[in-house]
């Protein structure tokens, strides 16, 4: 049977692994990105998502870093951040990415999602949806430009528009992110009950129970960043905890 997944998110700014709270990246968690990513691979994580949160014009630097850090990673890798063209996407795949995750550029040009799917296969394209409560409109709205700009759009309507062109949705509540109070379960329920493709949920995990809640709400994959970095064998322990609660995850061995 197809398994549910646990995903480690690694945010990279200027070649360092950083901690994030409400999309502000300040603390450096790890100065050696290579060791951070290899550790997760060694701890039998199901997948890794690497996001380039450096400022613009960091594409080349990120590609060089990716080339350097993926050599000993033997699980699927998704990369995101500043992907705006087919050529750069192609470079990322050649360097070892299995999937790419995109937010802002899909909003600007939804045909880009179609071009990518046609060229690389829908299974390798992830739509990243960041959203938060917008005080001006009193709704939870999709945000682009790394959480800076509201586009006054309901996350579910946006997910439905993207669904024909992408393999998965990477759903992040900016309000929950870094706050340690668990996922936005209401939104996971709302989106997962209305679309067919898998949802990866991200933002707010500080214990294993939060991961469990994410699955119960309808996520196919649960993701965390800060939480997984701070505890030894975190992802192995998460797998055990969740399998004990009858979540259908792959069996891993120490």
């Amino acid at each position: 049977m197809l398994k549910k997944r646990i995903i480690a998110v690694i945010l990279i700014k200027d070649n360092l692994v950083v901690q994030s709270e409400n999309f502000k990246h300040v603390n450096v968690i790890h100065s050696n990105t290579k060791i951070a990513i290899e550790t997760f691979s060694e701890w039998s994580i199901d997948e890794i998502i690497l996001i380039n949160v450096s400022n613009k014009n960091s594409e080349k630097k990120f590609l060089d870093l990716l080339n350097n850090i993926v050599k000993k990673v033997f699980v699927p890798i998704t990369v995101g951040g500043w992907i705006t063209g087919l050529d750069y996407a192609s470079e990322l795949f050649k360097t070892g990415a299995d999937k790419i995750s995109i937010n802002t550029e899909f909003y600007r040009n939804i045909n880009f999602a179609k071009s990518l799917s046609d060229k690389f296969g829908k299974q390798s394209i992830i739509a990243s949806i960041d959203y938060k409560f917008d005080k001006n409109t009193n709704i939870k709205s999709v945000y682009i430009d790394r959480g800076k700009k509201s586009v006054n759009l309901d996350p579910l309507s946006w997910a439905l528009k993207l669904e024909p062109f992408v393999g998965e949705i990477f759903l992040t509540s900016i309000d929950h992110e870094g706050k340690r109070n668990g996922y936005d379960l209401e939104m996971i329920r709302k989106i997962s009950s209305n679309i067919k493709i898998p949802i990866i949920t991200f933002g707010g995990v500080s214990n294993y129970e939060h991961l469990y809640e994410g699955f119960l709400a309808g996520a196919s994959a649960v993701a965390a960043a800060n939480f997984f970095h701070y505890k030894e064998f975190s992802t192995i322990l998460a797998n055990k905890y969740l399998r004990n609660k009858n979540i259908n995850l792959r069996k891993i061995y120490d």
Binding site: M1, L2, R5, F74, G96, Q123, P198
Partner: protein, 204 residues
């Protein structure tokens, strides 16, 4: 030391596969020309994407007869993902015939399973083992491997050694015919048991 050749026909990227063999301390090179094939002990036939495009690409490189010579000499070859599918008789994804080394056909999942099933089939799924297939040695029953595909291999040939995986229906996730092996999943992305499978292949 075993020398592995990975067949390049410009379909998909080979970086992860190369990294896997390097991790296993194995000598590995990319094959770009059919005349180089005889220089290797073992071959990998990789591939991702569309069967029609891939078989055209493969044929344009003129690999077929040199690889058949390699197989005739009882050397081992492993097809991965679309590479496995190319080894079969035919695919619903193309009017062009497959390589015909394995008596099996490639079907679109859509035509085999309930339409509610999410496609492509992406993620970790378990493989029911078959003890006759040596590349699965010392891998626990029902271990999970990483899949990403919309088409899958089926056969009516009871002589073919197969292992299966369930996704709406049992499909062939591993096959073996003498010295020819194929896997539908990506061993290079399947964590420790994926590497174990590649190691078993190297040590055949």
């Amino acid at each position: 030391m075993t020398k592995i050749g990975i067949i390049n026909y410009d379909v998909g990227n080979l970086t992860s596969l190369i990294n896997s063999f390097l991790k296993l301390d194995c000598k590995v090179e990319i094959v770009n020309n059919p005349h180089e094939i005889k220089n290797y002990d073992k071959l990998i036939l990789p591939g991702v994407g569309n069967f029609d495009y891939a078989i055209k690409q493969f044929n344009s490189f003129n690999y077929k007869s040199d690889i058949e010579e390699f197989i005739y000499k009882k050397k081992h070859i492993l097809g991965i993902c679309l590479g496995m599918q190319l080894m079969c008789n035919s695919s619903q994804e193309s009017n062009i015939k497959g390589l015909g080394w394995i008596n099996a056909e490639v079907f679109n999942f859509k035509n085999k399973v309930d339409e509610k099933l999410i496609l492509p089939h992406i993620g970790w799924n378990s493989v029911k083992l078959n003890k006759n297939i040596e590349i699965l040695d010392n891998i626990p029953e029902n271990s999970d491997f990483y899949f990403t595909h919309s088409f899958a291999v089926f056969t009516n040939d009871y002589n073919l050694d197969i292992s299966t995986t369930y996704y709406g229906i049992d499909f062939i996730s591993v096959f073996k015919k003498e010295n020819i092996f194929g896997v539908q999943f990506h061993p290079e992305k399947s964590d420790k048991f994926g590497l174990k499978l590649l190691k078993n292949f190297i040590e055949l």
